[in-house]
Symmetry: D2
Subunit: 439 residues, 4 copies
């Protein structure tokens, strides 16, 4: 990941200035408001920072947090929340936190819940909005999923902005992944084009944890925790049969973070296959040969594979309607090829294949994610009330910061094959560093 | 299930009498030994029992429990344990209980663990036995699976009995399902034919809970607990998408006990499809029409299907090598047909399909199953040490009893479509009592 | 437990006959209604039953289940539910099941929820009732506790019956333990005295599992599961310190069922102390000497004690306002005495004391208890609608039956010190069979 | 927390230089070794960093990670691990990670496990060391606690260093809290005084998460997760009784991190009392008045209190043998005073008090902590093999760094009463910002 020097302040607060006159009758008296002049360094390496600062090229982000002066008058404002894309643990916690913060801290009384993603902003689909208040969200964090419902895919931008205008929604919180944030960027640009005083704040959601300039996304830790259970079961199955091979397919279209973290946490995986690290199946350095060696040594094996791994083994399958490349099913392919390989060499293996799929993403958030979601919601509200727009709430270097949508959608975060995380996986699994045949 | 009057005592203690002279130096002093004359009634209905008793046709079972006199001399006996078939929560608990009971209560010091099912009794496969003791089984109950490994399929009976003779194993505990018990019956008959003084005790294992004359099998409750998690996730998914349908496939080749219990416990299922209750897909009274009605009413639905349900929808797929009829994949079929149906009527559904498979059976036993396994192991040892053979340990009317293998393998236990359990499912789901078109 | 021959039918259906004319428009068509003539045997021992039948002294219970003819007309009936005493896992499941069954199966539309136990039947306390319907109970089973609230202690019987009359409640479901059932018996007798056509049905609730003629009470298995976690922690603590002793105090005023089951399930306890088995602290055969021996052998120990154990070690502390004898805190006493003992012999022990208390009873029911509660609620409604009164729903020999309140409150169920359960604990712990000094 | 400018490099690599000649035959080929010249900034605020850099006063830490050249020759080195103080989730994971990293990556074959803390370094106590290898630690991470055992309190420094010399241990890993690190500092200084070539590396362990310059300690997240369960139970209890008050005492002698995080994650607490924020009990602005107001409003309340809170309410109790001030039991005091207060005003409350104590710290680490422990162990080994000494492995700004023991033991990390964390608690609970009477 080679970063181009970006001036992240460029996108901020250009269309919407802080109003500067509105005071909030909040029950909590903040002493230490956050100033827009305070910024968080992107990099932590002292020497690199020194050089960048000397050249005035240091990348930095705005701190998240409450501002002394806010832009919107809570008495007149209507805000709305929308959740988009696949489910992810913590969606309800984020909704609850936003509603609580708007209601209790800023005194807002008009909060709309948009149903089933961006579809709820398209009147043709016919999904009436909900009116949200603390009572309605009191216990939603006990459940997985999202009380608002969600959906995939885009809707016409002008239609959505028309809806925001008609409904007098001047502050929109959108929780979603890469596609959602691109959609939000389009909404933001359309708002700007029309000269509206409407702010849009994104809260990045990706169970794959692969959004740029966002070191941690909510629900990821919970998902890893669930994935660990599947690995444990596959390990038990592999040891329970003669020549047992457990194969677990986990989420991760572009990045192997869930597979990697689950394997590190569980501790019994012998192979982890991820999109970032190519591998051959056949050949003396290929995966099957390595698996054969492992089986000769111990008689059982546990293989973890991210869904986006090994895609070069498939034909081009075209794109789905969201414009994402369709993935070949690497889990089923591995299962088939492993069975065939060991049959061919006269040592049949008992292959147990687990695809936990939705089980991993539909659970309630774990306590650590609960807290994280709470802060995300609070900071999103602070940012929105202060008149920020076109940005997402990010966690960076363990601090909450504002990141322009443009940056967050620039590229995907991936695992570095020569970085400490992947090396740790190699150490933990004992798998060969390269599963590719010399050419 | 129409029971023929059987005299269950017929099969007991015919080849092997209790020695009557051996006393055990057990640290626990039993006061209340169980006598073979005491028997447990099969039926509980007072009037039926009255009639049967008058006709001397009442079915009854031997009580399980410690006998005052035992057959084998612990100083000279070698026992062995084998676990067969698919994994099931509690296997390690049963192994641990048997080892503890043999070692601590009867003072046995020679206990063999046979590896990977009946394969471990076939020298050609080459799986050396383990020597078991309390240290080796100290913490195995913390893990799922079986420390001995398991495998499916039969082995030649004479070879297995040869191995028992050669290894001087005179007391064999076999933990397994229908196939395993049939295999054990063959071993028992071969032993009888050869006139050997070797006892075989079965401990019924079936995650489907479908063994005759056994009201509860170990691991079933744990499996239901895991299945509930999948249903919860599918429910969250179904509600999280516009027109969401969650489909969960659960174990149950011949009987829908897991599907039924999981649906009752979780409480959100709208349809439960099991092998015992036939259904049509198409037609005005068929499943798809009923699902359509449900979707029109509430906009989302949760469907639970046992793997053996709806097999009339498939071609005959022949048998696998264990002689079981191959099942069509009803889960995938339902998924495909539901998607197609709602697409065809112009109201596409978001179908989320979950097949938790191995996740359900590889976990450690829950506390209630732990206790149950402990008792099964203890009673198996009591029976074996007393010289019982050709029988299994069963739980009947909440008591532990001895059931002849012949009875346990006579037929499969199934859900009665007009019984209280299934009626309760109908009440809980609200699904139509019949999903079959009038002819 | 020596049973007097009782005619359990005596208390049944004497004041209230089945109406015999009301038909229910239930969506589920029952084929196999239960007849009052069918009865379940109390005993299962064939020879004892034979003798009793010959003498016409066999004890039996009515089967629970739907009756073909019901007493109350659902169109005119108002029912009510009350939960009393300490919390227990599954209370919400029972409430939900009763509401569902009344509403969906019998078509009742007037269901009252009485708040905070019998206090809610006393207008002086001023707790307005709730109107219950399926929407209100939709997700209550996800939570522990009781949505109605609960309280301890009696209220004046005439006041309570006045309230039932004024509120036109003619069918009352009371969920509670020994005290609650005694209170219900008083209400039942007052109703009978006044000649009212009001039915009262009890659902036994006791986390201690100590109600007579009830083999299993709801929530008990869940509580054992939680207790197991405490034992696991105490075991870890005991092994983690030099000369570590873990002591866990569990519920069980009169009976050691939770302590016993938790110890059997967890498997690491070295001593289990329960109310049914007396023990000395000091002396050569006392507990401290036995603990010292264990510590000398292995260097750590795990002790489980039921709160009602060892009460002879305390002064008489009088009674609380419910009339129960106040218990001395055996957990703290043990902790103190163990510390003092090992200090006195110059080998100080690191004693870690855990009193999980409310944590064990406030959790949601586990899946098996969920199902059990569902059936209890359904059977309670079947019984009530059929005009049964003065009885409780019991599980006996794995079947649901009707037991007269009089029987259920006759005495407490306890562990037999010479029975298979306690012997199994002795085997599992290895503790001496007697911890009492010879006299 | 006002930081003095410290030169953290001062303590590093002064006694022990990197050998510079030893190469390791590790199966994983590192490309990107970490250089000692690369340093991580302590602060992230751009303007503050700019000023500090200009003044050459920027605080920074060494990066953790593998060094290209190592100091010790794995063929000749003997390393040892010791775990001290109270249990904490993840101890076994850290041990396992250290053993794996030493064995597999650096090829070390002589690894000693010191039993029961520093006591194991005192021959007078007589605790023989264990020889550790991968087989011995294979499954220890499934369990809570520490396989080595632990103990509190110091041992004579010269005796411990004598032991290290006699046993030829030249690399010591000590896992422990404040007291342990002070002890390690003493060992380090004695080693320096004697001119030995022995390195000592600390891994900070504190379930309270209160070590300076360490933003996260292992096990803390797991502990919070367990604490959340207690809060949930207390909330259920509070709502289940008329005028119910749940009080939960959690760990936190000097800092309220566990109480704070648990309350934020669980979401139902109405009051959180921590050592950093003083409060009065009585008086118009005191806690009891605020609780009374809450009870008047909603009828139930949940109070979370850290064990070190409100100590001004107690007499000085002196110090324990580790030199820590003895704490008054604030949980029991609150319970007593709350009961008395509501009784006095004629509105008795049902107070349910939960002290989960050991239950919170004896569980296995959750997946996120597992990964964290893995990295801590790996980085400790990298540091030790590179010849670092007198330092601890810290997580700072989400990166692993080296921190001199001197810094880590300088003061305790605490919650800032005007910081974002505490303000978030105030928002979440709705409790008054100040519970102190004006003077």
């Amino acid at each position: 990941m080679s970063l181009q020097p970006i001036d992240p302040s460029r996108d901020f607060t250009t269309t919407i200035d802080t109003l500067g006159t509105c005071t909030v009758n909040s029950p909590v008296r903040y002493k230490n408001f956050v100033s827009d002049d305070d910024r968080v360094l992107y990099d932590l390496n002292m020497e690199r920072v020194r050089k960048r600062l000397e050249q005035n090229r240091a990348i930095s982000f705005e701190y998240a947090g409450p501002r002394e002066r806010i832009y919107f008058d809570p008495a007149n404002l209507r805000a709305a929340i929308v959740t988009c894309g696949g489910l992810c643990p913590g969606l309800n916690d984020v909704i609850r936190s936003i509603v609580h913060e708007l209601w209790y801290m800023y005194g807002l009384r008009r909060i709309r819940g948009i149903r089933f993603g961006y579809a709820g902003l398209n009147p043709d689909v016919g999904l009436p909005m909900l009116d949200l208040n603390p009572d309605m969200v009191r216990e939603i964090h006990y459940d997985g999923g999202t009380m608002l419902g969600s959906s995939r895919g885009p809707q016409p931008v002008d239609v959505m902005v028309d809806t925001l205008e008609r409904e007098e929604i001047r502050l929109l919180f959108a929780v979603g992944g890469d596609g959602t944030l691109r959609g939000l960027k389009a909404i933001y640009e359309e708002i700007e084009r029309r000269g509206l005083k409407t702010a849009v704040i994104g809260i990045p959601k990706t169970i794959d944890n692969d959004i740029a300039f966002v070191s941690r996304t909510f629900g990821f830790e919970t998902a890893v925790g669930e994935a660990v259970e599947s690995l444990r079961c596959a390990h038990v199955e592999a040891r329970g049969a003669p020549r047992g091979v457990g194969i677990v397919k986990l989420m991760g279209r572009h990045s192997g973070f869930i597979a990697t973290h689950a394997a590190l946490a569980q501790g019994d995986a012998n192979f982890v296959l991820i999109p970032e690290v190519p591998f051959d199946l056949e050949g003396p350095q290929g995966f099957l040969a390595a698996l054969e060696a492992r089986m000769a040594l111990r008689g059982h094996a546990l293989v973890v594979v991210a869904e986006g791994a090994g895609q070069k083994l498939f034909e081009d399958l075209g794109e789905d309607k969201s414009g994402n490349r369709k993935l070949g099913d690497i889990g089923l392919l591995l299962k088939k090829r492993v069975v065939a390989h060991f049959k061919a060499i006269g040592k049949p293996a008992a292959v147990k294949y687990i695809d936990p799929s939705y089980i991993i993403r539909s659970v309630p958030a774990n306590p650590n994610d609960c807290i994280f979601c709470k802060f995300l919601g609070q900071h999103a509200v602070h940012a929105g009330m202060a008149g920020k727009t076109g940005m997402v709430i990010s966690s960076w270097n363990n601090l909450h910061v504002h990141v322009p949508i443009e940056m967050a959608t620039m590229h995907r975060k991936q695992i570095q094959p020569d970085g400490i995380l992947w090396l740790s996986v190699l150490e933990s699994t004992g798998q060969p560093q390269y599963l590719v045949n010399a050419t």
